[in-house]
Symmetry: C2
Subunit: 191 residues, 2 copies
DNA sequence: TTAATTCATTGACATAGAGCAAGGTTTAGG
DNA sequence: CCTAAACCTTGCTCTATGTCAATGAATTAA
């Protein structure tokens, strides 16, 4: 079960783990390997899983009325990710979750996860931390849109996700920044 | 303790309350009346309270490098509000919380609140719901900025907060929408 | 490896929204 | 109730970013 190392490490930063709890975790999560562009969730489906990324990356996005991809979030290694809104409410997702590259992950069904949240303090802490982190990230992003122009958003991105431009197609990065690929291409030269 | 009616109602939508729990709530929250423009939190302070609004409204904002107010959120009646980021992390707030009008609220110190979160399932549920709601709201707002132009943002606002334009100065509404008051004034005529 | 596709760059032009200035209106507090 | 201050509106101009088109580079699949 060497796949579980990164997950244990993640959880242990929040709450101590004993062998019994580790066993329940191993029984509850499933390993999965997906290829580039494969979907974990499509618009209209209810998000029934919580994912932990071991290798690779995902993007979460919505298709707007013009058919454009609006990317809300890039999820990289050692992050929990799901469409929390759909996961929480049980309503159909408005978002897609798709792999940017070949990706390895662990996933846990919602019902199993919520049962662990209720019964294992470590996982209660994980869920709380997910919500807190997701919230803080969203809030930063709001101010980024509200207060920064294209160049400053790019600067912010490069601090937050160093090396992302060489890892993820610029077209997707532009969507994440809320600008066109043309503008991204131009502002990259202005540093 | 008639002030507590709205708070009980709020909590009871999430989790049943008995008299014993109500008593602990009454002992833990403090009633406060504040005047227009009074601050509940200033930049640099750590947010040590959680507020429940009984009457009136607050705004949460940040001052950008040009000295402009960037409003992230309007909190109206029957909402819990605090600077969750600072509340969670214990780090100094980058935001101000200020009253838009004469406002009545109940507040609870962070330490007391967290103790109730740990020990009263009803309040654990309240905190979880706060985080979930705050997250969902933020996420909507990201897509609003990423995908909508000024007119569509205004339309969205009028659905989400009907009557807000007659209640809160347009200057503040414009900041919330991420546009200038000039533009807001102009687009109001385009419906 | 090559052909087909997708992606990035760049120039010319278009446009939403910003910034400034001036005037009229509303609000607040003494 | 009256005055000062804050707020809203509107015309004019400016600018950042979008749009379109053309070309070249990189990636992908066969």
């Amino acid at each position: 079960m060497k796949e579980f190392g990164p997950l244990y490490a993640y959880i242990e930063k929040l709450h101590p783990l004993n062998e019994e709890v580790k066993e329940r975790i191993v029984k509850s999560f499933v390993f999965k390997r997906i290829s580039k562009n494969e979907f974990l969730l499509q618009e209209g489906e209810v998000c029934k899983f919580n994912y932990f990324i071991l290798k690779g990356s995902l993007r979460l996005y919505k298709i707007d009325p013009k058919g454009e991809e609006l990317i809300r979030y890039f999820a990289l290694e050692n992050k929990f990710v799901s469409n929390l809104t759909s996961f929480i409410t049980g309503l159909p997702s408005e978002e897609f979750i798709q792999a940017n590259e070949k990706t390895e992950l662990l996933y846990i069904p919602k019902a199993v996860f919520l049962e662990l949240v209720e019964n294992l303090p470590a996982i209660n802490r994980v869920y709380r931390n997910m919500l807190e982190k997701a919230y803080i990230t969203s809030q930063k992003r709001i101010y980024q849109f509200q207060g920064l122009n294209a160049v400053d958003r790019l600067r912010w991105l490069l601090e937050e996700y160093p090396g992302i431009l060489s890892r993820i197609p610029n077209r997707l990065v532009a969507s994440y920044l809320g600008i066109t690929p043309y503008t991204l291409s131009r502002i990259k030269s202005e540093l």
